[in-house]
């Protein structure tokens, strides 16, 4: 792992975290208001982010042979599977209960939203249990 990559990730994270705090997505109340159709601002957050990221992801690999500081562009590969969709359904249930998703849980801490530590700790625990179960499945069916 090059130092440049770590530096880029850190700077990107700072922008990401600042954007999350600026958009007030680090406030679970705002997320819950969106999910209960009282304030549709979250659609603008997602829309703004996707509007900027889409041309980057689509055009850059065609314009440049490689990223400025690395050898290849990463790819987001998702598969249509029961895991992807079932997991998304579960993720939504959790998001709807607490109003917290991974990015804002982490960025919110920096913005002084300490109660989010509860959500962040619970997320880490949930991720552990998921990996624990998935490890057992991999033993039972290694090719999956």
């Amino acid at each position: 792992m090059s130092r440049a990559t770590l530096g880029v990730a850190l700077v990107s994270g700072i922008g990401f975290g600042f954007g999350l705090a600026y958009s007030t997505m680090t406030r679970p109340e705002v997320v819950l208001d969106f999910l209960r159709w009282r304030d549709f601002g979250m659609l603008l957050v997602l829309g703004g982010a996707v509007a900027v990221t889409t041309p980057t992801y689509q055009l850059l690999p065609r314009l440049l042979r490689k990223p400025v500081l690395a050898d290849s562009f990463g790819k987001h590969h998702s598969v249509m599977s029961r895991q992807t969709i079932g997991g998304a359904a579960l993720f939504g249930i959790g998001w709807g209960i607490g109003g917290v998703c991974p990015g804002p849980a982490i960025a919110g801490l920096g913005a002084g939203n300490w109660p989010l530590l509860v959500a962040l700790g619970a997320m880490l625990l949930g991720a552990y249990v998921q990996g624990w179960i998935a490890s057992r499945r991999r033993v039972a069916a290694p090719d999956r």
Binding site: G13, H76, H77, F91, W95, G96, I97, P102
Partner: protein, 154 residues
């Protein structure tokens, strides 16, 4: 009409979203990184658990930059407050944060993506499974949020 949809104004939502998009684009342009957030949890566990799921190369080879990204998120939140943004502490009940956080953490890792992974990176990559995931979690989240309100949640 617009006022009804955005009772707290619209500009800060859009500006925040664009900033996030710029940050995600920066990581991609400079180092080719695809910056979904939830993977950092599995990647962090790869340091302490030898279970086979956590020891996959996709976690062990990316865990350093993913932790740097997470550290940046905290610093970004800090920078927001340091530059005059108002700090805010949630009043959502602790049981909602705990139960919701656990299920969201489990589900995001099972689905291999969350609001940023499927929502931003997946949609921007024109991935149909990600679009399906986004529609699915928006739907279940809206139902869950209504039920929580009905049973006396925040």
């Amino acid at each position: 009409m617009v006022h009804d949809w955005f009772p707290n104004g619209a500009a800060h939502y859009l500006i925040g979203g664009v900033l996030i998009g710029v940050a995600v684009s920066f990581a991609f342009a400079m180092s080719g990184l695809v910056t979904g957030m939830s993977t950092v949890f599995s990647a962090a566990w790869s340091y302490v658990s030898d279970r086979s799921f956590f020891q996959q190369a996709r976690f062990t080879t990316s865990r350093q930059w993913r932790l740097a990204l997470a550290a940046g998120l905290v610093l970004g939140g800090l920078l927001f407050v340091a530059t005059g943004g108002s700090a805010f502490q949630t009043h959502v009940s602790w049981w909602q944060l705990a139960i919701g956080g656990f299920i969201a953490g489990f589900g995001a890792r099972m689905s291999n993506g969350c609001t940023s992974g499927h929502g931003i990176c997946g949609l921007a990559s024109f991935q149909l499974p990600s679009l399906t995931a986004v529609v699915t979690f928006l739907l279940t989240a809206m139902i869950a949020a209504r039920i929580v309100a009905l049973i006396g949640g925040t």
